[in-house]
């Protein structure tokens, strides 16, 4: 039995990896690429399911070998996988989303000439994500972690013909990479404490080691996690990353990669709880992010970007669970929200992606009334938004309430500062989340075709966004429809439907959206089954009050929306403020302020390299020439002078011979 678990765990990672390589080899062949990529994800799902099944039904060895331990003297690097309930359930969730995304992109990118490369990158990404989840070794985690970042770079920059996509990709990779530098140091500190990179050994060994080092390690790791999960102050790359094709956004920038930090901290939770300063830091970061991102999300004029900000907020939520959960509660609530968020956020992204194809854009103005025109999307989007808002009995409700429960436990049991911070910011976030969900829903269901032209004009005025050239995505149709409507901006959506309309959507894509919607509904119930192994912890009083808050938000946003002719509650803010929200309050400027001194320093370095270091080398040439000229001058060409030197030399030789003998 144990052998089959090991084999399945290896297959989970290898299948998409092989699919990525094969996919690259057949990149020109669309059907083969689709088959390979979907098969890769499907095999992973089956293998992952088998692991999940098998570990509940029999003994197994949690340590699974990979490429074998590396001989590194006093540092042990076993490079093993670690299979347990936590990793198995997350593997299954990731595999589900991955398979759904692969199916969806077969349709979404069906006229993209780089479809083959795209799905190969997604396969590679899946492999890396599985590696992070199954990793039993800090180095394997790091490998998966960074490869995910690289895939994210490739996928955001998928449409590399577009400058804004290239910029967004570069920004995303650089921001996460810079945060990862601290992550690497954190890993090195963790590993050097116990002279091994095995995660189990790290968890076993660190409780006996100095707490200060542990805090230092975790603070470094938190920077990395904040970068990867787009937490304040590294959060600004994620909205820009929406330049990538929607399936990639759904998978990487909503469901999996950005949540990997949560998983990693959950993995290390037994020692993470030992470091109160690190937990407080995490609580503060997440509190800022969850409230700030939710506020910004409300004002976004682009629904895809709104989802991106909502992702920030939700990830902050799951991280905050780790920041406050008492050791007795464990990492369960955070992981639970990870799983539920993966489901409903992927669902939302795919549904919005579908809608964006139908209406040729993701701007709120273009999508206005989209659900009314395309009623087949009504149910998936409604489920997604309700789950996001945390309405029972959907999956989002269960997971959020268990986070709330964890925070409540913290406040009642430990009474720590971080517990209060999270509790308060959670309350604010609940209201805000409900508000922007309501707003999105009202925009999508708004029906006033007569006002269409007016709204377009007013929106064009508000679109003076100078963020990372993101303005293109508002004015251009989604990547999948570039060819169809290029040159005819503002074209009625109906014409695009000929190519991409509802009639054209592939059954696989529909099934994948349906499956995600189904899971978002029943997931909340599944959580209560022993299969997941996480016991949700609900505090009914708090749950009721949060529901009350949701209701208040719903009503007030409705009222705000009704006051606007557009039906968009955010218009209440005014065009200028919306532009500010679209820029994410100008955080991008901070990055520029960090990068430009580096570039200036680089210019100084190049100048110094030429005018200081190399000049000192060149000066030896000058010195040699000068010495040559000087000694040439010393040669007067007068024999009598030479005779002086000759005899003087002989005398010196003689004297030194005598004295030194």
């Amino acid at each position: 039995m144990s052998d089959s678990v090991s084999l399945s765990a290896q297959v989970v990672i290898l299948a998409p990896f092989v699919a990525a390589i094969l996919g690259l080899l057949v990149a020109r062949n669309r059907p083969a690429g689709a088959l390979i990529s979907i098969a890769g994800a499907a095999v992973s799902l089956v293998a992952g399911a088998h692991v999940l099944y098998a570990i509940h039904h029999g003994p197994f060895s949690p340590e699974v070998p990979t490429v074998g331990p590396l001989p590194l003297g006093q540092l042990k690097m076993p490079l093993t996988l670690l299979v347990d309930e936590l990793s198995a359930i997350v593997v299954v969730a990731v595999a589900i989303v991955g398979l759904a995304v692969q199916l969806f992109s077969q349709w979404y990118l069906h006229d993209d000439d780089r479809y083959g490369v795209f799905v190969a990158s997604v396969s590679l990404f899946l492999s890396a994500m599985f590696l992070v989840v199954l990793s039993g070794d800090l180095v394997l985690t790091l490998i998966g972690w960074e490869v995910m970042g690289w895939c994210s770079y490739l996928l955001i920059g998928h449409n590399s013909r577009k400058e804004s996509a290239n910029k967004a990709a570069t920004k995303a990779f650089l921001v996460t990479r810079i945060a990862d530098l601290a992550f690497v140091i954190g890993l090195i500190i963790l590993a050097s404490g116990v002279s091994t990179t095995s995660i189990t050994a790290v968890i076993d060994g660190w409780p006996d080691l100095p707490a200060a080092s542990l805090t230092a390690a975790f603070l470094c790791l938190l920077i990395g996690v904040a970068g990867k999960s787009a937490q304040f102050p590294f959060h600004d790359w994620l909205p820009d990353a929406m330049e990538g094709p929607t399936p990639a956004s759904a998978l990487i920038h909503a469901a999996t990669m950005v949540a990997a930090g949560t998983f990693f901290l959950a993995r290390l939770f037994p020692i993470f709880v030992l470091s109160d300063p690190a937990r407080l830091a995490l609580a503060m970061i997440t509190a800022v992010t969850m409230v700030g991102a939710a506020i910004i999300a409300f004002g976004q004029s682009d629904l895809k970007r709104m989802l991106a900000y909502s992702t920030l907020s939700q990830i902050a939520l799951m991280l905050s669970a780790l920041a406050v959960a008492p050791a007795s509660v464990g990492a369960g609530p955070g992981v639970l929200h990870l799983l539920s968020h993966a489901m409903f956020k992927a669902l939302l992204f795919l549904a919005i992606g579908w809608l964006s194809v139908l209406v040729a854009g993701t701007a709120a103005a273009k999508m206005s009334g989209g659900v009314r025109y395309h009623p087949q999307l009504r149910l998936p989007i409604a489920i997604g938004l309700l789950a996001l808002a945390g309405v029972p009995p959907l999956v989002g409700f269960v997971s959020k309430e268990s986070i709330l429960g964890a925070a409540y436990d913290n406040v009642t049991e430990l009474g720590s500062l971080s517990g209060w911070i999270v509790l308060v910011s959670f309350g604010v976030t609940v209201v805000l989340t409900a508000a922007y969900c309501t707003r999105a829903w009202l925009v999508l269901t708004h029906l006033s075709p007569a006002d269409e032209a007016v709204r377009r004009a007013s929106l064009a005025a508000s679109r003076t966004v100078v963020d990372v050239s993101l303005v293109e995505i508002f004015t251009e149709p989604a990547p999948g429809t570039v060819r169809d409507s290029s040159g005819t901006p503002g074209q009625p959506a109906a014409e695009v439907e000929h190519d991409h309309g509802h009639a054209g959507i592939f059954p696989g894509a529909r099934v994948s959206i349906g499956a995600l919607a189904f899971l978002s509904v029943v997931g909340g119930l599944i959580i209560f089954t022993p299969l997941v192994g996480v016991e949700p912890h609900l505090v009914w009083g708090l749950a009721a009050s949060s529901l009350l808050l949701i209701l208040v938000a719903w009503l007030s946003v409705r009222r705000m929306a009704a006051m606007n002719s557009s039906g968009d509650a955010a218009d209440f803010l005014g065009a200028r403020r919306i532009a500010l929200f679209d820029r994410g309050f100008g955080v991008d400027g901070i990055y520029v302020a960090v990068v430009s001194p580096v570039v200036r320093l680089a210019r100084i370095v190049v100048t110094a390299d030429r005018d200081l270091i190399d000049a000192s080398v060149r000066s030896t040439v000058v010195a040699t020439r000068w010495a040559g000229a000087a000694s040439e001058r010393a040669h007067t060409r007068k024999p009598s002078d030479y005779l002086v030197w000759l005899l003087l030399g002989l005398l010196v030789v003689g004297v030194s011979g005598v004295t030194l003998w």
């Binding site: 060409r637 024999p639 005779l643 005899l647 005398l651």
Partner: protein
């Protein structure tokens, strides 16, 4: 019986005078005179040591004889060079820079 410091002192004086002559003179022939003095200092040293040592091979004396011969040969060649120089330049002043 003789105190050796006397001839040795003469050796030193001759060598010093020769060295002075080599440097202080501008005329090539006079420089040669300095060289001769140094050579003779060497000769005197040979003879002095030979007189007090008196080895079987009579090395000191024989080498002195050889040295005198070599000096003669050297003088011949040197003077020929000086003459050639004189014909070439019109002077044999060693303080003038060469071409």
């Amino acid at each position: 019986m003789i105190h050796l410091w006397l001839p040795l002192l003469l050796v030193c004086v001759l060598a010093g005078a020769g060295a002075y002559g080599v440097i202080a003179r501008r005329n090539a022939v006079l420089v040669l005179i300095g060289v001769e003095l140094i050579l003779n200092a060497a000769n005197l040293l040979f003879v002095t040591t030979a007189s007090v040592r008196g080895d079987q091979l009579r090395t000191g004396y024989v080498l002195t004889l050889f040295l005198i011969t070599i000096a003669a040969a050297e003088m011949g060649v040197a003077l020929a060079v000086i003459l050639a120089l004189f014909r070439d330049r019109g002077h044999i002043d060693l303080s003038e820079p060469g071409s």
